[in-house]
């Protein structure tokens, strides 16, 4: 078991000074929804506004120059973080926007690999977050293509047993999550992508739950596009990333039109700037991009491998502890093989909202509900689950508090 120096890390996060209900300390187990921000990220955003604020890529003054350098510097940090070329990094406002941008770019054209027609298939999975389901569902409706999906095994892993029939020459897009935000299971992207590429399909990976938690390298992942958000990886809200292969971005139609994304404009027509500018219409979320750059620097100074090892240790400890609780059912793998630090569970006779409410009395922040993965809830026959998710600022004592909190919840509702 290899753990980080959590006390030192926590000292960088002002939110942990906050007192929760009943003067309890904050036991934050909801990083799967959003992470907290270290002082370094808050300072980076503030410094952008106090020292360099200007609209990027416009203006000839010092501030415009500095703002552009800071924004493009952030792009470079992101590109190094995932092993990509800098021009392959598109900043969006969120991972949701990244995925919608992509889905709309497909229906904005009728030529090349992006053109879809009736008979074509878009393959997703039953464990997708709504953000990587609905854009494809709607793209299928707009183009007449058919949506197909991988199921989930009872253990909570992707059911790849039917991959040979699911991926065929009809398959044009495979959009799949890297790690389930509910089950924690990490999907075999490389294997799926290899298969998808033999039929010429494009592979889109929702990396929202992976990019913050373990090292990710697009040069070996074999995906064609990945999307992730800044706020789940210590960065600000309002900044997301879409990575795409340069050759594909060059062919792809823009989704949003306006300033910044053009090469030349007349009253009748316009041509587009090369990627990534083509996909970044309007003044972007500059301070947020800079904040994301600072967040990645923070993560890398600790090391993504160490962060992953830490989370595996926490997950292991939590899985063991939770399994000792009578009347608690875990959704997702019970070991840490290909599994991240997200644990969903249900308590007999106690609805997740009620559990979350009692846990809140002890300063424990968990997510309750369907986790924007309603089809997965239906598959497991529950209205919702309670989810604990871990990050670099959690330690074993947080899990002890959770386990005690669950016992107190069962006592409160007179379930033993």
């Amino acid at each position: 078991m290899s753990l980080l120096d959590v006390a030192a890390i926590k000292a960088d996060f002002p939110i942990f000074d906050k007192k929760m209900r009943n003067d309890a300390r904050l036991v934050y187990l909801d990083s799967g929804a959003t992470s907290h921000k270290p002082q370094q990220v808050l300072d980076a955003e503030r410094t952008f506004y106090t020292q360099h604020n200007a609209a990027v890529h416009r203006g000839s003054h010092l501030l415009a120059e500095e703002a552009s350098a800071a924004y493009e510097g952030a792009r470079e940090i992101v590109s190094h973080f995932i092993g990509a070329d800098v021009d392959e990094i598109i900043f969006t406002k969120s991972a949701t926007e990244s995925l919608n941008l992509l889905a709309y770019s497909f229906s904005n054209t009728n030529r090349g690999v992006f053109a879809l027609k009736p008979g074509d298939e878009i393959l997703v999975s039953e464990m997708e977050h709504h953000a990587n389901l609905i854009p494809w569902q709607q793209l299928a409706k707009r183009t007449g293509a058919t949506l197909t999906w991988f199921g989930t095994t009872d253990e909570g892993r992707l059911d790849i047993s039917k991959i040979d029939s699911l991926i065929s020459t009809r398959t044009k897009i495979v959009a799949i999550t890297h790690q389930s935000n509910v089950l924690g299971s990490i999907n075999p992207i490389h294997m799926i992508a290899e298969k998808a590429h033999t039929v010429g399909a494009l592979v889109v990976v929702d990396a929202c739950q992976s990019a913050p938690h373990f090292a990710l390298d697009v040069s070996t992942l074999d995906a064609d596009f990945i999307a992730f958000s800044g706020h789940k990886m210590l960065g600000p809200t309002g900044i997301g990333v879409l990575w795409g292969r340069a050759a594909l971005l060059a062919q792809m139609e823009p989704f949003l039109y306006g300033g910044s994304m053009i090469e030349s404009v007349t009253m009748e027509s316009a041509t587009w700037a090369p990627a990534p500018r083509k996909f970044e219409a309007g003044v972007p979320n500059m301070a947020q991009a800079v904040g994301l750059g600072a967040a990645i620097n923070y993560l890398q100074a600790i090391g993504m491998e160490k962060i992953h090892d830490h989370e595996v240790a926490l997950t292991n400890y939590a899985l063991s502890g939770l399994q000792t609780i009578k009347g608690l059912r875990i959704f997702g793998p019970l070991d840490t093989v290909d599994r991240g630090g997200v644990i969903s569970f249900a308590l007999d006779e106690i609805h997740p909202h009620d559990a979350g409410q009692v846990l809140d009395q002890y300063g424990i922040a968990v997510r309750t509900g369907h986790h924007c993965a309603w089809p997965l809830m239906r598959k497991f026959g529950v209205a919702g689950t309670t989810r604990a998710s871990f990050y670099l600022y959690n330690d074993l004592s947080d899990i002890d508090v959770l386990i005690d909190g669950i016992a107190a919840t069962q006592k409160y509702f007179k379930v033993s």
């Binding site: 209900r21 609805h351 909202h353 009620d354 007179k414």
Partner: protein
């Protein structure tokens, strides 16, 4: 504990032993409502006879607050005229939006005044209102249907 103002004993009683749960075969209107933020769902049947709510039955999944609330509601409006039922629903809606400033009119709301504490927990108000809004929807549809 602050929690006790939310989960009064009568709420937990209704949760464990809900009234009028299980859908009737005979109905004037059936509605299905969901709480999209948490996935809770309710199907509710009402039977109207000459402007009177002669039966309300329901089925659904949800937290203790939503289940207890619909249990109390269905018992309250049972046998009331539509006009009386709407007065009760409005009174409950007002209580839920009171942010803890109202106690609730016990003569009107009976057991449902126990839910007054919910109004101090903004994230839970929707839970408490789920069944009531389903009833109101069904009652309006039924009333308008009867007029035709």
């Amino acid at each position: 504990m602050e929690l006790d103002s939310l989960y009064q004993e009568v709420i937990l009683d209704h949760y464990k032993h809900p009234l009028h749960k299980g859908l009737s075969t005979e109905k004037t209107v059936q509605v299905h409502h969901v709480n999209p933020s948490c996935g809770d769902e309710i199907t509710l049947n009402i039977l109207l006879q000459d402007g009177v709510v002669s039966d309300v039955t329901w089925d659904g999944v949800g937290c203790s607050i939503s289940q207890a609330s619909v249990s109390m509601m269905s018992d309250l409006v049972h046998g009331k005229s539509l006009d009386e039922a709407f007065v009760i629903v409005d009174s409950f809606s007002e209580l839920m939006s009171s942010k803890g400033s109202l106690q609730g009119d016990e003569s009107l709301l009976e057991d449902a005044v126990a839910l007054a504490g919910v109004s101090k927990f903004p994230a839970r108000v929707k839970c408490a209102l789920l069944g009531w809004m389903a009833f109101k929807d069904a009652a309006i549809q039924g009333r308008d249907g009867e007029k035709i």
